[in-house]
Symmetry: C2
Subunit: 350 residues, 2 copies
């Protein structure tokens, strides 16, 4: 990379608040000078960016479960970076760190919300997926909230996505029967053949509710929910007494306006199921569970090393492609954890 190019920091900012599905025109690529670290700061070169469904909520003005991104502000997001210059004690140039530096080439950090990336444990991109927030989401939601027992049936929505693909494997490790639900025959094949799901079903199948029922002869004890919509409707009647429903996403509804949708109203029926089947539905957000990070890294790191958990990153090259890659991910175009490679690891100055 030439000195001229290095002198610019490209940033993707929120240009407009989308109504419904976002488009690339809702983002704008800007460029500015590379910032200089002050005392107690370090300059980080972004290697990988995470694009995640929750970012859709942050594009809205209204309250989401996380603060809104301001118009003209850099899009938020997890990152793996290399330290280029440091006036922060404990960090030296060449260090690899994971943090939340946003959609830009360079960022300053004072060490807040920064983790070290140990490449002995796993390749750096895994720190945004299997060993990152999506892996921790799967770990906390499945083990702490749902706590499935060996032999129980665990149904997983968006099973080929970043969180779902981890849930499928963790539930299999626990000795559960795993029914994976995804959006294409290719994803279903991957779930069965690579990730070891007992059954994988395409929710586009017009007979999906019947197929799901046939695939769950003992009913469903845990439904890992991050989708909503028609998949949830099909799962609901199959939930066993005492079933647990950790809710970590509602990707089918992120583009909704926030107002109630056209009827019929299925809420009263849901509540009757909650009562009659003694369901426990529990929303959670990984940021509330960062105290579990040490246990998670130790356990998940071990499983990755032993090859008991596979991680797959779906990598798109180029910061400029982040908006399109994000929109495509919201539509389910990804297999595993969708990442942006901003610059090749060996090209980033160490």
């Amino acid at each position: 990379m030439s000195a001229t190019e290095e002198a610019m920091n490209r940033r993707i900012v929120l240009a407009r608040r989308p109504e419904g599905e976002p488009g690339v025109e809702d983002f704008r690529l800007e460029a500015g000078p590379v910032p200089e670290p002050g005392p107690g700061e370090m300059l980080c070169r972004t290697l990988y960016l995470s694009v995640d469904p929750y970012m859709r909520g942050r594009m809205n003005a209204g309250p989401s479960y996380a603060p809104s991104v301001g118009l003209g502000d850099v899009m938020v997001g997890g990152s793996v970076s290399r330290v280029l210059a440091s006036r922060l004690e404990g960090y030296v140039p060449g260090d690899l760190v994971a943090g939340f530096n946003g959609w830009q080439d360079y960022a300053l950090s004072d060490g807040t919300r920064i983790r070290r990336v140990d490449p002995e444990l796993a390749p750096p991109p895994a720190f945004l997926g299997a060993l990152g927030m999506t892996g921790l989401t799967a770990y906390v939601g499945l083990f702490d909230i749902a706590d499935p027992q060996p032999g129980e049936t665990v149904a997983v929505a968006a099973a080929a996505g970043a969180v779902g693909s981890m849930v499928v494997q963790l539930a299999t490790l626990r000795g559960c029967r795993v029914v994976a639900i995804a959006g294409s025959p290719a994803k279903c094949g991957y779930l069965r053949e690579v990730l070891g799901a007992d059954v994988a079903l395409d929710y586009h199948d017009p007979n999906f509710p019947e197929t799901l029922e046939a695939a769950c002869p003992q009913g469903i004890d845990v439904y890992f929910e991050n989708v909503g919509g028609a998949v949830f409707e099909a799962v609901l009647p199959l939930l066993n007494i005492g079933a647990r429903v950790p809710v970590c996403g509602q990707i089918a509804h992120y583009n909704d306006s926030g107002n109630p949708l056209p009827g019929p109203d299925s809420l009263p029926r849901l509540m009757m199921w909650v009562l009659g089947r003694r369901l426990r539905m529990q929303g959670f957000i990984v940021g509330d569970h960062l105290d579990r990070l040490p246990d998670f890294v130790r356990e998940m790191g071990g499983w990755l090393r032993e090859g008991r958990i596979r991680h797959y990153e779906d990598i798109v090259d180029g910061l400029e492609n982040a908006p399109a890659a994000f929109i495509d991910m919201l539509r389910g175009g990804n297999l595993g954890k969708r990442l942006i490679r901003v610059v090749p690891e060996d090209a980033a100055g160490a």
Copy 2:
């Protein structure tokens, strides 16, 4: 009571399955001989019957959270009885017992699901309310499932009913701020002045959602749900992050057909709230928690003796009035625990 009258066992049976709201014509009063206890059985004279919302579900043919009552079968229900004759070890004539003898004057029992009634602890009717299943429902739902902390805001639906009136008092004992929601000014006055609710609101007030919001300046940490419908809709936006919603009833929906109601569909919005506010919604049924009965009786018995919990039974005389009293209770006509006094305690032969 004359020997002739004693020789007949009046029973109220299910004559017809109601569609929507039940009517008295859905029940039938029959009479037959008083049964004779065989070996290992005892003959019980019903003193008090409990009428409860869950019985509406058992009148349907389809699956409820409890088995359906067959057409022509005696209506199910909790009872306090006096033992008239016993061939069952451990029971002698004159003993008081609580069980599930149904809507009839006499019943045989082999001791299954029978508890002893200790009149030193509380008057016999309390064993169907404060010291019975409705009290245990309040105790388990509030303490085991919601676990409110002192200073938290607890909102209680159907607060003047059998379960709600106990929840209000238990939450007050725990040091919570209690917002009681009920269906008439008289009930609200009772909740404030007798049961000690911090605030009591009538959900018929056209400004109820605004009044509720004003009454909950710190939001709502626990919503004890047994109603559904418009009350739930008003509570939902006020729930704090991490709020707990134990669900023990949905009385607003017991007469629904089971099919989705006219739109708009508020289910997706609910799920977005569950996610964004990290809500825990948990259905429960007291029958799953009978292992808590000893702790409950010890603690609640103590509070009743000390006068820290008040119990109020709303008593209707006469087995023949049970259907009308049940229907009226479904409409909210009761204050506290609705019971049927089948025969005065001192008139039942001992």
